[in-house]
């Protein structure tokens, strides 16, 4: 009898030991955070630098023609034995120019009119010679024109134009009620809508800003009646539109060229120069149409090489692309989340003490959250160290993920009953032990739910990272938006949604491991 009871006691004590070990699991979880973070940071750094060190990176703007020219350039480089990478659809003129100046890309396709007015802030009629001289001083080289002039144009449905008798832009003055849908870039450009309106004294008031590709849909279904377009745009023929004649010769010449860094390896420059004078307007329209039809820029670029040897560039299968996007997406969301945790929990601890400092911290984190994510990205791009890079995307996501963690840490700690705080003090635990062994474990449920919120937000917001060329599941979403191709959009949107659900589910599991059992009763 005695023996039996003794055995029972031993067992009880052993399992009690176990429990006390488990209860500090949350604290140990916090200790381990720096390890994966360090690893992630190193790998992020390697991703960021290795591509720049070995490959020649070509950038392109966010529209079909730029994608196609970028693909052709990449093929030319690879065929010349130069490792090359094409970062598709990185953004607008300013972003590409900035990336070129900062050395994040080596070259990208541009138009003479844009270089003159947007980049050099000069008159749109400066000669190619003057442009070359000005760029040289900035360490940037320029190829000769590729052979086509892609100027801006205003377009209408053929039926509308006939019915109203509109042939020239001057004719538009007679119809003040026409609805214009213009791209945001055109609305803001120095050589865009405002001077055009002045030059022609256009009376229309009904002007909306709309994405270039969506604008064609809006035009087709009658939501708008006039939009801006590029003269080599394949959609003009495809949608049975007419170009309204620029009778006052307002639009400058937009001859396609490649800009490159003067420091680019000479054989790469030579490869780019092989495009000079080789692409006329008919050919460009054909390439653009092929890209839009097949939804595949590489295939369209192949047309350029008709007759030449088949590219050794790899044809990516969907599963491989999906894997690449997902890995990058998880990298973006994961690294930024770890940073948010490492910074957010200590800030939350400080904020939980209240006072001016606490209010400043919670206020700052709250304000960051109110900045639209797109604007936050745009604000970070011009800063030194950031630019068009993975770093920028991670920094923006990190700032976004901060608030839920800071706030939940602070409230979790503040909600600990006074009797428990005082018990910890009265026992004679020193402040660090109180925090580590008592306060943080008791607040663990709240802290973990903050981390979960951040993770889910980050997975969603990380799709925007593709806008600045950081990749991830946003890549198909944005190029799908650009091509007006719903299937491509879904190729990114569905995995992103699934990923968010999976992350949520993983965190629910993690709750069971990390929240001490005594708090889950």
């Amino acid at each position: 009898m005695n023996q039996i009871r003794h055995a029972g006691t031993e067992e009880t004590l052993e399992s009690a030991d176990d429990e006390s070990r488990r209860s500090t699991q949350f604290s140990r979880f916090l200790v381990w955070i720096p390890a994966p973070l360090l690893f992630s940071c190193v790998s992020a750094f390697l991703i960021g630098s290795s591509s720049a060190a070995t490959d020649v990176v070509i950038g392109s703007k966010k529209f079909t023609e730029s994608y196609v020219l970028g693909e052709i350039a990449k093929r030319l480089l690879i065929d010349a034995g130069i490792p090359a990478e094409h970062r598709q659809g990185m953004g607008g003129t300013i972003i590409l120019w900035q990336a070129l100046r900062d050395g994040q890309i080596e070259a990208y396709p541009e138009y003479t009119g844009t270089i003159a007015t947007e980049i050099l802030k000069a008159d749109s009629n400066v000669s190619l010679h003057e442009i070359r001289d000005s760029l040289e001083k900035l360490g940037i080289g320029i190829t000769a024109p590729l052979g086509f002039n892609n100027t801006y144009a205003l377009v209408m449905r053929r039926g509308d134009a006939h019915r109203l008798g509109v042939r020239t832009i001057s004719d538009l003055r007679k119809y003040p009620d026409l609805k214009f849908g213009l791209t945001h870039e055109f609305l803001d450009r120095e050589d865009g809508w405002r001077p055009l309106r002045e030059r022609y004294a256009l009376p229309q008031q009904n002007i909306i800003g709309i994405d270039h590709t969506l604008g064609y849909t809006a035009l087709a279904n009658g939501s708008i009646e006039v939009k801006d377009a590029y003269s080599t745009d394949a959609k003009i023929e495809e949608n049975d539109l007419v170009v309204i004649e620029d009778d006052l010769q307002f639009f400058p010449k937009y001859e396609a060229v490649f800009l490159f860094r003067s420091s680019t390896r000479p054989d790469a420059i030579a490869a780019l120069r092989r495009m000079e004078g080789r692409v006329d307007e008919t050919r460009m329209i054909r390439l653009n149409a092929e890209a839009e039809r097949t939804k595949d820029y590489a295939k369209a670029a192949n047309l350029y090489f008709e007759g030449s040897a088949r590219s050794n560039a790899l044809d990516d299968s969907f599963p491989r692309k999906l894997a690449r996007w997902t890995v990058r997406h998880l990298q973006l969301a994961g690294i930024s989340l770890l940073l948010s945790i490492i910074v957010g929990i200590p800030l939350g601890i400080v904020a939980s003490r209240g006072g001016a400092v606490g209010n400043v911290i919670l206020g700052f984190a709250g304000v960051v959250q109110t900045v639209p994510s797109l604007a936050l990205l745009a604000l970070l791009v011009p800063l030194p160290f950031f630019g068009i890079s993975l770093r920028t995307a991670i920094a923006a996501l990190f700032l976004y993920g901060l608030l839920p963690i800071v706030r939940n840490t602070a409230t979790g700690l503040q909600d600990i009953p006074r009797s428990l705080r005082e018990s910890a003090v009265a026992l004679g635990l020193d402040p660090i032990a109180r925090l580590w062994k008592i306060y943080l474990p008791i607040a663990s449920r709240s802290i973990l739910s903050g981390i979960k919120t951040s993770a889910v937000i980050n997975i969603g917001t990380a799709t925007l990272a593709a806008l600045i060329g950081a990749g991830g599941l946003g890549e198909p979403i944005i190029s799908g938006l650009n091509l007006n191709d719903h299937v491509t959009i879904l190729e990114g949107a569905i995995p992103a949604a699934v990923l968010a659900l999976l992350v949520q589910w993983c965190f629910d599991l993690l709750d069971r491991v990390l929240i001490p059992k005594g708090l889950r009763l």
């Binding site: 009690a16 005082e422 635990l429 020193d430 032990a433 474990p441 005594g518």
Partner: protein, 247 residues
């Protein structure tokens, strides 16, 4: 009889409200001193000053001849046990982990902690089967026993009890009162006990300290208070609770 704790001219105010007027008090070694008085009379304030949960505005407090300062308070707290009405057990730790927390923190061996734990189970009559349970799985009376075990773990010189039985139902309360008194006697423990219940005070006290509006009104035995009241308030307080006091 030597004084384990000595308060000299200790006072505390919160803004304009005076919680404790300058006060002198000695707590005798090996005795149970009970602080009693109506709500807000300053009895809990006094207790919290001793354990350093609040800092006094003036005066000095000595424990065993050592003045309590912000520098040594944390070390001194480990020589003082503290039990409150809510128990103050950490919900994320098991009974066992709650009790051995400090012992392990200051580096006592697992074996030493385990032996002391078993001793305390005996002393407080807590079943060892409850050791792996979490506080939420215990009854109110069991929680207070565990809280007492935690307070006694490091064999403190002084035990502070702030209405430890206030939240319990009468039957549990009576049985715990009995156990507590036995424990104090067996350990020769110096106790400072706060209650608002006169019957409880009489049951435990070697000396009763009656407080009102931030002042000590009278210190003495219950006989002193009954027969030689220092102030009309003393009689008033005792008569208000005569139902039990006359038992």
């Amino acid at each position: 009889m030597s004084a384990l704790v000595k308060l000299e001219e200790v006072s505390k105010r919160y803004g304009d409200a005076i919680a404790l007027h300058p006060t002198n008090l000695s707590i005798e070694s090996g005795k149970t001193t009970v602080l009693i008085g109506p709500s807000g009379c300053g009895k809990s304030t006094l207790l919290r000053l001793v354990i350093g949960l609040i800092e006094s505005d003036s005066g000095s407090i000595e424990l065993n001849g050592n003045p309590i300062t912000p520098d040594n308070i944390n070390a001194l707290r480990r020589r003082i046990g503290y039990v409150i009405q809510e128990g103050g057990l950490f919900p994320h730790l098991t009974t066992r982990a709650n009790v051995v927390l400090m012992a392990r923190h200051i580096g006592k061996s697992e074996e030493e902690a385990r032996n002391r734990l078993l001793e305390l189970c005996d002393l407080t009559r807590l079943s060892q089967n409850l050791l792996p349970r979490y506080p939420l799985e215990l009854s109110g009376g069991q929680r207070q026993r565990v809280s007492l075990m935690r307070a006694l773990m490091l064999s403190p010189e002084l035990l502070l009890l702030d209405e430890p039985l206030g939240a319990l139902d009468p039957l549990v309360r009576a049985s715990l009162q009995e156990d507590l008194k036995k424990i104090f006697t067996r350990l020769g423990q110096t106790v400072l006990f706060v209650t608002h219940d006169l019957a409880e005070a009489i049951y435990f006290a070697d000396a009763i300290v009656l407080m009102n509006e931030g002042r000590i009104v009278q210190k003495g035995t219950i006989t002193d208070l009954r027969e030689r009241p220092a102030d009309p308030f003393v009689s008033e307080f005792i008569n208000a609770q005569r139902g039990v006091a006359s038992v």
